[in-house]
C-alpha cells in the first residue's frame, strides 16, 4: 500500500533517503534530520498525507545516534501510511515540523520531555507529561524506573500577567501596570468539569476567554516506562488504565498490535468476540461521554438515563465476562482470557434494547431543545483541515464531515465482514460531536447483533505454544504443559525483533500501539497513541474568544480521558 509513497520519496529526494525498511508490512524511510521538514512538506503537499499521527521517540543506547524519532504519517485519501525516521545523537537537535502539522507541537514536546531530544525552532518546547522541575528524561534507558522525584511548585502558564499571590482584589495590587481588566483563572486541576485532573489556565475579559493554556500530566504514571519493565503479556492489565471508560477496546487493540508484530492471526471466534466486546465498550464510552457532557451544560437528568444503561452493561455483561467492571484485562496476545458465559447473547440483546430506548429518551430531551441548540450549535467549531492538522480522529474528526474510521479504512479483526455506516457531522461543532456519538451507538449495536449471529463454537486462543498459555489440564497434567506455562510466564512471549504500529478505532478515535521488540520477552519500546492527546492539543485554540461556559461544553464534547491523555 505505502510502497508507492516510498517510490515517490525516492524519486523526489534520491540519495537523501538513507535507508528504507519494511517491518511487519509497515514501510519506513530513514532521512537525515535536516531534510525532515522538506520530506514532510513534500508528503503533505504532493502525496496528500494530511495527518501526522504521532511522533515517537525510541532510545537505542548502544548506537551512536542514540535516539530515533519516528514520524507516523497517514494519507486518508490514499489509504496509505508511512513512517519517516530520523536518528539523533545525544545533544543534537532536529528541526521542528510543528509549522507543517499542528499535531507535531505537543507530540514533539512529549519526545522532548521523555527523551530530551531538542526540536529547533519549536514554538513552545516545554515538558508536557512530567513536571516542569523534573530532572532527567524518564524514558531513556538509563533512567532507573524506580527513581522518583519530589516536585511541588505549580507551573506558571500565562506569564504576561502578574500574579498577586492568590489575591485578586483591586486594593491589594501593587503598582500601576497591572491590566486589571483581565483576570487569570485556573480551571482545574480539580474542577467539576475537568472529569479528571487537568488544568487550563484562562485569562478572562469578563467571561470571555482571551487566552488559554492547558497543562496535562497530573495523571502521568509513565505507562510506557512500566511497559518496558514487564513482559508483553504483563502489559495487558496496564492498558485497562489508559482509557478507563472503555478498557476492553484498549485490551483488544493492544493484543492485535502485538499480534501484528508476531505475525499471527487469532481464531475466528476470538476475533468476533473481540469485535463484540469492543463495540460494547464503545457504547459505554459514548454513553459516558454524552451524559457527562450534558451534565456540563446543565442537563442533569440525561446523565441518569445513560448512566443506568452503562451500569447495566457493566454489571450484567462485562463483570460476568471478566470478573470486574473497569479493569477488564480480557484480551490476551493470541486470543482471549475466557470464552463467553452462558446467556451472554440474551443479556447483550436485553441491554441493547434498553440502550436504544435510552437514546430515544435523551434525544427527545435535547435534539430540538432550544437551550441545548443555543449552547452547542456553532460552538467550538473546527474545520476538517484544522482537525486533520491537529491529528484528530474518531467522532471528533467525523463531526467535521470526514468519514475516516479505522474500521472501514483499514479493517482489522474482521470488521470488513460487518455492515455498518460511518455517521458524520456537518459543522464540527459541539452538537455534531454529540450527535455523531449518538448515531455511532446505533451502529455499534448493529455490529454487535451481526457479531452474535456470526458466533460459532471454536477455540478462543491460538494453538501456538510460543504465544498462548497452555490449557490448565495440560499445565496440571503434563510436564510439557508446566514447562510451557513456566517459560511463557517467567520470560514472556518471545516477540521477534522488529517494530510495528498496530492501531484500531478506539471510542475516541484512533488508538495505536507502536511496538518495538528487541527479541527478548519485554518490549523495547511501547508507545501508545492515545486519541485524545492530539484532540486536546487543539483545545486552547478552540476556546480562545469563547466564554467559560462554552469552554466547559467543548471540553465535555471532545471527551478527554485523563488516564489516556497522561498515560
Amino acid at each position: 500500500m505505502s510502497q508507492k509513497l516510498v517510490d515517490s520519496l525516492k524519486s523526489e529526494f534520491g540519495d537523501k533517503i538513507v535507508s528504507v525498511n519494511n517491518s511487519c508490512g509497515d514501510e519506513s524511510v530513514l532521512v537525515p534530520g535536516d531534510s525532515l521538514p522538506a520530506v514532510l512538506k513534500y508528503l503533505k503537499e504532493s502525496e496528500s498525507c494530511e495527518q501526522l499521527t504521532d511522533v515517537i521517540g525510541v532510545d537505542y543506547p548502544e548506537r551512536t545516534e542514540r535516539f530515533e524519532v519516528n514520524y507516523l504519517l497517514r494519507s486518508i485519501a490514499n489509504k496509505s501510511r508511512i513512517n519517516v525516521k530520523v536518528a539523533v545523537e545525544e545533544g543534537m537537535d532536529i528541526p521542528t515540523v510543528s509549522d507543517i502539522y499542528k499535531s507535531a507541537n505537543w507530540a514533539e514536546r512529549e519526545v522532548f520531555d521523555l527523551y530530551g531530544v531538542k526540536f529547533r525552532n519549536h514554538p513552545d518546547l516545554r515538558r508536557i507529561l512530567c513536571h516542569h522541575e523534573f530532572e532527567g528524561h524518564a524514558l531513556r534507558k538509563d533512567y532507573p524506573i524506580e527513581q522518583g522525584q519530589f516536585l511541588s511548585t505549580p507551573e506558571k502558564l500565562i506569564d504576561d500577567i502578574e500574579y498577586h499571590g492568590g489575591a485578586f482584589r483591586a486594593d491589594e495590587v501593587e503598582g500601576e501596570d497591572n491590566p486589571f481588566d483581565l483576570l487569570n483563572v485556573n480551571i482545574g486541576p480539580s474542577h467539576p468539569a475537568t472529569h479528571g485532573a487537568l488544568r487550563i489556565e484562562v485569562q478572562l475579559d469578563g467571561e470571555t476567554i482571551v487566552k488559554a493554556k492547558s497543562e496535562i500530566g497530573y495523571l502521568h504514571r509513565c505507562f510506557e516506562k512500566e511497559a518496558e519493565d514487564h513482559t508483553w503479556s504483563q502489559v495487558m492489565p496496564y492498558t485497562d488504565r489508559l482509557n478507563y471508560v472503555s478498557s476492553m477496546l484498549n485490551n483488544c487493540i493492544y493484543a492485535s498490535s502485538v499480534e501484528k508484530l508476531l505475525g499471527v492471526e487469532v481464531p475466528q471466534r476470538a476475533q468476533i468476540i473481540r469485535v463484540i466486546v469492543s463495540e460494547l465498550s464503545r457504547i459505554i464510552d459514548h454513553l459516558v461521554c454524552i451524559c457527562a457532557n450534558l451534565v456540563d451544560i446543565g442537563a442533569l437528568t440525561n446523565y441518569w438515563y445513560f448512566y443506568n444503561i452503562r451500569e447495566g452493561i457493566y454489571y450484567d455483561i462485562i463483570e460476568p465476562l471478566c470478573g470486574s467492571r473497569l479493569t477488564t484485562n480480557f484480551a490476551r496476545i493470541g486470543g482471549l482470557s475466557h470464552d463467553l458465559f452462558d446467556g451472554f447473547e440474551d443479556a447483550v440483546e436485553k441491554h441493547l434494547q434498553k440502550m436504544e430506548v435510552a437514546i430515544k429518551e435523551v434525544t427527545g430531551l435535547i435534539a430540538r431543545n432550544r437551550i441545548f441548540l443555543d449552547r452547542t450549535v456553532d460552538v467550538g467549531v473546527l474545520t476538517t483541515d484544522e482537525a486533520l492538522s491537529y491529528g484528530y480522529t474518531g467522532p471528533c474528526l467525523r463531526a467535521t464531515g470526514l468519514d475516516y474510521d479505522v474500521r472501514k479504512h483499514a479493517p482489522y479483526s474482521g470488521y470488513e465482514d460487518y455492515k455498518f455506516d460511518v455517521p458524520i457531522g456537518e459543522n464540527g461543532d459541539t452538537r455534531d460531536r454529540i450527535m455523531v456519538r449518538m448515531e455511532e451507538m446505533y451502529q455499534s449495536a448493529s455490529i454487535i447483533r451481526q457479531g452474535i449471529q456470526k458466533l460459532t463454537p471454536g477455540p478462543i486462543a491460538l494453538d501456538n505454544a510460543s504465544v498462548s498459555l497452555p490449557p490448565k489440564e495440560s499445565v496440571y497434567g503434563s510436564i510439557e504443559g508446566v514447562m510451557n506455562q513456566f517459560k511463557l510466564i517467567s520470560e514472556g512471549i518471545k516477540v521477534p525483533a522488529g517494530e510495528a504500529y498496530g492501531y484500531g478505532e478506539g471510542a475516541n478515535g484512533e488508538l495505536g500501539f507502536f511496538c518495538v521488540s528487541d527479541g527478548t520477552g519485554q518490549p523495547h519500546r511501547l508507545k501508545v497513541r492515545p486519541p485524545c492527546f492530539p484532540i486536546f492539543s487543539a483545545f486552547d485554540e478552540i476556546i480562545e474568544g469563547l466564554m467559560i461556559a462554552d469552554a466547559i461544553a467543548i471540553l465535555g464534547s471532545i471527551n478527554i480521558i485523563a488516564g489516556e491523555l497522561d498515560r
Binding site: 492568590g166 468539569a193 446543565g298 442533569l300 431543545n369 437551550i371 449552547r375 467559560i548 461556559a549 466547559i552
Partner: protein
C-alpha cells in the same frame, strides 16, 4: 396580625401602646412566619430530591424515616449543624459572616405580604406587591457580599453573575405584574386576590391573552430571580464550582440553601396570589378551605419549577441576558400596553 396582638394583650396581659402593639405583634408574627417558612424550605429540599429522583428513574432519599426518607431533611439539618464552620483565612470575615444572614432575611421578609387565606396575612399593607419586590431585592446585596467576602475567583464570578441576573430579571418580573395592578386598581395583595373571584376565567392569568403572556413572563423571570435551573448562572456547578457560596460550609451554607427554597416557594405563592386567583376555587364564588386551595396552587407551581429544573439544560450567561433584555422586557412592555388598551376599551378600570 390582629389575632396575635389580641392574644398578646389579653392572654399575656401585656400593656402596650399602639406602636408597641405593632412591634410586639409584628415580632411574634415574624417569628412564626420565619419558623414556618424555614420548615417549608426544609420540606422542599426533600421534595426536590424525591421529584428529581422520580424524573431520573431512581428513588432519591429512602432510608431515614419510615416513608421514602421522610426524615431525611431532619437528618440533613442535624448533620449540617454539626459541620465544622470554616471561614477562609483570606476571607473578609465580617462580610463573610453577614452575607448568608442578609440573604436569609431577604428571603423571609417578603412573606409578610403573602395572603394565604382571607385575613391570614401577616401585614395587610396597601403596597403589598411593591413591598415584596422591594425587600427581596436585598438578596442581591447579600449575594454580592458573599461573593466578595469569600475572596475566591469563582465566588466573585458567581456573585457578579447573580447580581447582574437578579437586577435584570427584576424588571420583567415587576413589569409583568403591572397589568394585574392596573386591572385590580390596587397593590394590596388581598384586593388582588379578591378581585379574581368568580371562577377560572376571572383569574388574572386566564382573564385575557395579555395577562396570560404576563403570567408566563412572570413565571420565567421568577425562576431566574431565584437562580434556579435553567437560569442557575450564579451557581453553575460545572462552570463556577458552586458560585457565590463556594467557600461556605455548615450552617452558613444551609442558610443559602434554605433561602433558595424559601424564595422558590415565595415566587410560587406570589404567582398564585397575583395570577392564579389565590384562594379562589376554579368554579364559583364560594370560599372553601382557602388556605389549602392557595397552598395547592403554590405547590403545583413549585413542582413545575422543579420539573423544569431537571429537564432543561442551562443557558449561557450572555444568552440569559439576551432573553431578559431583548425578549422578556419588550414583551412585558407590550403586555402592559395591550392590557391598558383592553382596559380602556372594555371600560373595566377599577374606580
Amino acid at each position: 396580625m390582629e389575632i396575635i396582638t389580641k392574644l398578646l394583650t389579653e392572654t399575656f396581659g401585656l400593656q402596650l401602646d399602639n406602636t408597641g402593639q405593632l412591634v410586639a405583634g409584628g415580632l411574634t408574627m415574624a417569628l412564626i412566619m420565619a419558623l414556618v417558612m424555614a420548615t417549608c424550605a426544609i420540606v422542599w429540599t426533600w421534595a426536590e430530591r424525591k421529584v428529581a429522583g422520580f424524573i431520573q428513574s431512581r428513588y432519591g432519599p429512602m432510608r431515614v424515616g419510615k416513608y421514602h426518607g421522610a426524615l431525611q431533611p431532619v437528618a440533613d439539618m442535624v448533620k449540617i449543624l454539626g459541620k465544622e464552620d470554616i471561614i477562609p483565612d483570606d476571607a473578609d470575615k465580617p462580610l463573610f459572616v453577614l452575607a448568608p444572614i442578609i440573604i436569609f432575611i431577604a428571603s423571609l421578609l417578603p412573606w409578610a405580604a403573602v395572603p394565604f387565606a382571607p385575613g391570614f396575612i401577616a401585614s395587610d399593607m396597601d403596597l403589598g406587591l411593591f413591598y415584596i419586590f422591594a425587600v427581596s431585592s436585598g438578596a442581591i446585596v447579600g449575594i454580592l457580599m458573599a461573593g466578595w467576602a469569600s475572596n475566591n475567583k469563582w465566588a466573585l464570578y458567581g456573585a457578579a453573575r447573580g447580581a447582574a441576573q437578579m437586577v435584570s430579571y427584576e424588571i420583567p418580573l415587576a413589569l409583568a405584574t403591572i397589568p394585574v395592578v392596573m386591572r385590580t386598581g390596587s397593590l394590596n395583595m388581598n384586593d388582588i386576590v379578591i378581585g379574581q373571584q368568580g371562577g377560572i376565567f376571572h383569574w388574572n392569568a386566564f382573564h385575557d391573552p395579555f395577562l396570560f403572556v404576563a403570567f408566563m413572563i412572570y413565571f420565567i423571570s421568577s425562576i431566574a430571580e431565584v437562580n434556579r435551573g435553567p437560569f442557575d448562572m450564579p451557581e453553575t456547578e460545572s462552570e463556577l464550582v458552586a458560585g457565590y457560596h463556594t467557600e461556605y460550609t455548615g450552617m452558613r451554607f444551609a442558610l443559602f440553601f434554605l433561602s433558595e427554597y424559601a424564595n422558590l416557594f415565595l415566587v410560587s405563592c406570589i404567582a398564585t396570589a397575583v395570577f392564579l386567583g389565590g384562594w379562589n376555587l376554579p368554579v364559583g364564588n364560594a370560599v372553601v378551605l382557602p388556605g389549602l386551595v392557595f397552598l395547592a396552587k403554590a405547590v403545583l407551581l413549585v413542582l413545575i419549577q422543579i420539573w423544569i429544573r431537571w429537564t432543561l439544560p442551562r443557558l449561557r450567561v450572555d444568552q440569559l441576558m439576551h432573553v431578559c433584555w431583548k425578549v422578556l422586557i419588550p414583551l412585558s412592555l407590550l403586555c402592559l400596553l395591550g392590557s391598558g388598551i383592553l382596559l380602556m376599551v372594555s371600560g373595566e378600570i377599577a374606580a
